[in-house]
Amino acid sequence: MHVEQISVFLENKAGRLSEVTSILAENGINIRALSLADTSDFGVLRLIVDNNDKAREVLKNNGFAVGKTEVVAVEVADRPGGLHTTLGIFQQAGINVEYMYAFVQQSGENAVMIFRLDDIGKGVQVLKENGIEVIDGERIYTI
């Protein structure tokens, strides 16, 4: 039920992000979702793509430090309070959200949010208990 995310270390200087997107484009890899966290010196680019193994391989071959993390993709009702409901479930269960970001495309009536949780197993469990749909990897890569 987990989704695999890749992350890339980038120095905070001109042209680094476009270097990544250019490598992915050349190799026919489609970016499904992304977020960039940065400090004054460096940034961490997090990506969900349609072919994780290939993306990792080509980025590594081009000298990037690449990591792999399990995240949770959740359908969130596309209306006021939709995200709040999901976050409330995590809060009640004492699960920390390390970071989150939105998916590029919608899935039907719902928005898709990506959550990086400190306890992913428990996170998925409480979502299910509360009747919230967790999207599995195979589906997310092809949305």
């Binding site: 270390f9 680094r16 460096f42 997090r46 000298g63």
Partner: protein
């Protein structure tokens, strides 16, 4: 003024006779009491009695910092601990310091040589010395202190740091002599200026600066800003501490090496062959009066040359040029010795594998700054920014705790550090000195 006129102005012939007698005694004592020297001499097939002239010194093997490290902490001591009254230490490449010891007589000799140094630099009875060298394991503070007392000056043991308070002391106590590292001196000048204190109103006449590399340009700046005459002092704890060599304020043209206690040689750092007077090379010292910690042909790694010409001050001892560099990769940052391998050992602890790294040294507002660039590899990488920031802080904290030097840690991408023929360039020194 010359403190020890008999020895400091001794004719060459008489000086060499004393050197030989003292050298022979030192060699015999080292051979008899330090297993390391006995083994080295035996391997080279040399007996202490083979040393019949000063030229015979050339047949003896060199001693390196690695040898001192291998005998950590007390293996190089030539007297029982009962006779050791003082221990100092300087940092070493593996994180272990080099430990040196002094008998009561060594401390007495050192005080004498520092009294000579301070007077060569312009100090005399009646002067008040503001001693901003650090007190502690570092030899700078206590070395100057004992010499100042021996000379009969009044010494203010202010040590390093707390700069604003130092300026107040300078204003109120009216010291006439300043002893400090050159970079800290320029920092003092800036803080004084910020506080609205002019050196025109302070009473400094002379300053004695050393423990780190500096230049003629820095001397000009210090003399102009602090309104004093600045001289260069040289020393290293392995040989004694400060007071191995000193510039006289009359000539300010090279540092007189106290040859009645230390025999200097200049060698080719690669081949180890001796070099003639005037030729630059690595400075090598043999101590001839040290009891607790004699060193025989110790390679300092400092690059300089020797000048035997007579000096206007009247001292007959040979002069060494201002040290122009190092024959290894040691950096001196704010008076602290730093080797790239020390930083490597800290990085090793994080992940078990040392990532590529580079030390960048700059001089900002007169103070040396160290930036450690670390290439992020998969072992170090995290998708969470806070983990990466915690990593930077952890490396910085460990460097500070182990080696006493503040460093900014900057994570960079793999292959971001320049490589020369596949080998990473470990040190970039941007200081203009």
């Amino acid at each position: 003024m010359i403190y020890d006129i008999e020895y400091e102005t001794m004719p060459r012939e008489a000086l060499e006779a004393i050197q030989l007698r003292r050298l022979q005694t030192t060699i015999q004592r080292a051979y008899a009491n330090v297993p390391f020297y006995k083994e080295k001499f035996d391997q080279a097939g040399i007996k202490p009695t083979d040393i019949r002239s000063l030229a015979d010194l050339r047949h003896l093997p060199y001693t390196t910092k690695q040898d001192l490290r291998d005998n950590y902490p007390y293996g190089m001591f030539a007297v029982p601990m009962d006779n050791v009254v003082r221990i100092h230490a300087s940092s070493g490449t593996t994180g272990k310091p080099t430990v040196v010891g002094y008998t009561a007589r060594d401390v007495d000799t050192w005080a004498n040589l520092m009294a000579r140094s301070l007077s060569a630099g312009g100090a005399w009875r009646g002067d008040i010395i503001h001693n901003a060298y650090g007190y502690g394991l570092f030899t700078g503070g206590l070395g100057v202190h004992y010499g100042a007392e021996r000379l009969g000056t009044s010494v203010i043991p202010v040590s390093g740091g707390n700069t604003k308070r130092q300026i107040v002391i300078m204003k109120d106590f009216k010291p006439t002599i300043l002893t400090a590292t050159p970079s800290y001196t320029l920092h003092l000048a800036e803080v004084a200026s910020e506080m609205g204190v002019s050196f025109d109103d302070l009473g400094f006449k002379y300053g004695i600066f050393g423990a780190e590399p500096w230049s003629e340009q820095m001397r000009d700046e210090i003399e102009r800003t602090l309104k004093l005459t600045a001289v260069d002092i040289y020393g290293l704890s392995e040989v004694m501490g400060p007071g191995v060599a000193i510039e006289c304020h009359e000539a300010k043209a090279g540092l007189h090496i106290f040859e009645d206690h230390f025999i200097p040689e200049i060698i080719d750092p690669g081949s180890g062959d001796p070099k003639a007077y005037g030729d630059p090379g690595e400075l090598v010292f043999t101590t001839v009066t040290k009891e607790a910690f004699p060193v025989i042909r110790y390679r300092t790694r400092d690059i300089t040359s020797l000048n035997p010409e007579p000096c206007v001050c009247g001292r007959t001892h040979v002069r060494m040029k201002r040290v122009s560099g190092r024959s290894d990769d040691m950096l001196i940052i704010r008076g602290v010795n730093v080797f790239p391998s020390q930083i490597e050992s800290v990085l090793m602890e994080i992940d078990g594998v040392a990532p590529h790294y580079q030390l960048v040294v700059d001089r900002e507002e007169q103070l040396d700054t160290l930036t450690v660039m670390v290439e992020v590899n998969e072992g170090l990488f995290s998708d969470e920014v806070k983990q990466l920031q915690a990593l930077e802080r952890r490396i910085s904290k460990n460097i500070k705790e182990y080696f006493g030097v503040s460093a900014k840690v900057k994570l960079v991408e793999p292959k971001a550090i320049a490589r020369s023929q596949g080998k990473a360039i470990r040190v970039v020194d941007n200081r203009e000195i």
